[in-house]
Structure formats: structure tokens, C-alpha cells
Amino acid sequence: MNEKLFEVVEKPISVQEMIKKVERREAGAITTFIGTVREFTKGKRTIYLEYQAYIPMAEKMLAKIGEEVRRNWPHTEIAISHRIGKLDISESAVVIVVSSPHRKAAYQANEYAIERIKEMVPIWKKERWEDGEEWVGNQLENISYPTGKPEIKEGINND
């Protein structure tokens, strides 16, 4: 059985096996977060996603998030798996499981973990559309102007 708590994988993630990693008699709650591949983003249809990771550092950063969680919410246990490679719509890209004696810590710690993943874990996704593809996080995408220049929204005080 695979007991690695923080890992980057190339095969589909089993939520049941993830849950087993944090199950224990002291737990009164287990929260699971499953990040899935969404078909439409801002009206644009995704055909599939491709994830890439700097695997050894990504696993270290996931473990670091685990340490932060256990420090901030004592008595929790956490496991995180992130999948890489080509993923189709609705497949699971990331699964986070947290067990805790009480539910509030399990919910909070789980949300904290996904926010930290998005900030600091070296994993990238490329969106494949009907008419092209692009690595997300690319600043060119983030600051693209549909009209060719920045739009000034009316009614917003810009001072």
C-alpha cells in the first residue's frame, strides 16, 4: 500500500485510498477536496488540460504545506496528491484529505491547503482549446486586452 502523504502522480487518484491515509480512531471528521478539470472557463471551452511539475520540489512544497497545516490546526492529519500529464474534463487534478477530531479544523485546514498550493507549488497547467493552447499563469494571458487596450470601467473610482 502506498503510504506517501504528499505526492505528484501520473495515474488517476483514488479518493478512497487517500482517505485511508488519514483515517484514525481520534478523527471525528474527514474533509476531502477534489479539484477537477472544468470544461468552460470564461466562456471558452477546454478540450483537455496538461499539467507539468517540477516533481521533487513540488513534493517538498506539498509536504511543507502539510507542516503548516499541522502547526496551525493541531491534531489534524493531511495527505495531498496532485496529478500531472494529460487530464480530460471532470478528471481529478488534485485531492486533499484532512482528518481531525472536529469538523471545523478539517474544513479550514483543507481550504488553506488548496490556497497554498495555488500560491507556491511548482505545478503548471496548459489549457488546450479548440483553437489553440496556452500555459496558464503566463502573464501575457493574464494581462491580455480583448479590445487591444486597457478598458476603463465606468463607475469605478480609480484614485
Binding site: A58, I114, V121, P122, W124, W135, Q139
Partner: protein, 77 residues
């Protein structure tokens, strides 16, 4: 020589997943400037640098034998 790992858009811009650079003793800031000016890797401007799998500061130095990675804005999850 120092091996520089590239990922995602940077990898495609450079046409390779690693560069060898003779930069022993350089600061991270100098490395970034070189990658931008000599290799035209403009996204380095918005990227973080990791030395031996830990995020580094602009003032940190890189040395032969270090594993250096350029980390463009991440998009996991």
C-alpha cells in the same frame, strides 16, 4: 557550469528544458538579467528562482553543482 531547469511557457520559449550557464558566484538577480537579455526569456521577469528545490532571493548566490530552476507563475490545483 550550472544547470538551469526551465518549465511550462519558459521551456517552450527556450526550446529546451535546461540550459548550461557558466555563472558560478552569480546572484539570482544577475542570472535573471542574463536570461532576459541573452536568451530573450522575457517571462523570467515574473518568475521565481529555486536553488536546490527551495525558493531563493534575488541576492542569493548560485554555485557550481547547484540545481537551479526558474519557476514561472504557478497554476496547479
Amino acid at each position: 557550469m550550472i544547470e538551469i531547469l526551465l518549465f511550462a511557457q519558459l521551456q517552450e520559449d527556450a526550446g529546451t528544458d535546461k540550459l548550461l550557464i557558466d555563472g558560478d558566484g552569480w546572484t539570482v538577480k544577475k542570472l535573471k538579467n542574463q536570461l532576459i537579455t541573452q536568451y530573450q526569456l522575457l517571462q523570467v521577469e515574473q518568475s521565481m528562482v529555486a536553488i536546490n528545490e527551495a525558493y531563493a532571493l534575488d541576492s542569493d548566490e548560485i554555485h557550481s553543482g547547484d540545481i537551479v530552476a526558474i519557476i514561472p507563475p504557478v497554476s496547479g490545483g
